[in-house]
């Protein structure tokens, strides 16, 4: 599987996660989101950017429980809820948002 963005081909694994995180760009994110049938709003970007920051700090994609806790701390309890995140990313925030953010699949996420 692969995405096309800015005239370049970006490789993914069979589940659609980027093979090389360094190939991520906002355009690539837009293409992945399109494939996931998600219309990116500022709220979506907020979560995606949060995940990218988390990854650059800790070198892992967080488990959902850890993600909600960390988002509560930074963006407020209202946004750090499963409900809020599932409304944005119906197929699972950890799974879908991580994919759009170019991160590997979260550890322990089957």
């Amino acid at each position: 599987m692969a995405y096309q963005a800015n005239g370049k081909t970006v490789e993914t694994d069979e589940e659609g996660y980027l093979v090389n995180i360094n190939e991520w760009s906002e355009e690539v994110a837009g293409e992945i989101a399109k494939a996931e049938q998600i219309a990116m709003s500022p709220e979506h970007w907020e979560v995606v950017n949060f995940l990218r920051e988390y990854y650059s700090e800790y070198q892992i994609a967080p488990a959902i429980r850890v993600l909600t806790k960390a988002i509560s701390k930074k963006l407020g309890a209202e946004k750090g809820s499963n409900k809020y995140l599932y409304e944005l990313f119906p197929y699972g925030p950890a799974k879908q948002a991580c994919k759009i953010a170019g991160l590997p699949k979260p550890t322990g996420c089957v």
Binding site: E57, Y58, Q59, I60, P62, A63, V66, A70, T107, G108
Partner: protein
């Protein structure tokens, strides 16, 4: 000394909480043990168990600050130990003698730990329900 099995009511479950200990004895790179244990610990965090991490022998190098892995083409996973706190894994123990033998001190480590003597470590191990060593 063994606590009675405590029950976990927070998630509406009634799972038994056991004392788990993961013993890290190898240097972080060169073999896959350190990374595999770390991933196992992160996954096990989802099961709300009482997790203890031990770093002894060359395992103390896993927590050494300032690792540079670009030259060996490996991902530097040192900073992932700093994420453990967010997973509510905060019981990290380091063997004093292993630090001493390698010229390391607590200040060289990337996360807060409890430094124990061999005798204290042995006593702590005796209190565990499950010990996994790698």
């Amino acid at each position: 000394m063994m606590d009675e099995d405590r029950t976990d009511e927070a998630e509406g479950g009634s799972g038994i909480v056991k004392k788990f200990m993961y013993v890290n004895r190898k240097a972080p790179y060169g073999t896959v043990y350190a990374l595999e244990v770390l991933e196992m610990v992160l996954i096990s965090a989802a099961f709300d168990q009482d997790v203890h991490l031990v770093f002894t022998d060359d395992g103390v190098f896993e927590l050494k600050k300032g690792m540079e892995t670009a030259g060996i083409g490996m991902k530097n996973f040192s900073n992932t130990y700093r994420a453990l706190e967010g997973y509510d894994i905060e019981k990290l123990y380091v063997d004093q003698e292993s630090l001493d033998e390698r010229g390391l001190a607590e200040a060289d480590l990337i996360v807060p730990v409890t430094v124990l003597s061999r005798a204290e470590m042995a006593k702590l191990m005796g209190e565990m329900d499950v010990i996994l060593s790698a």
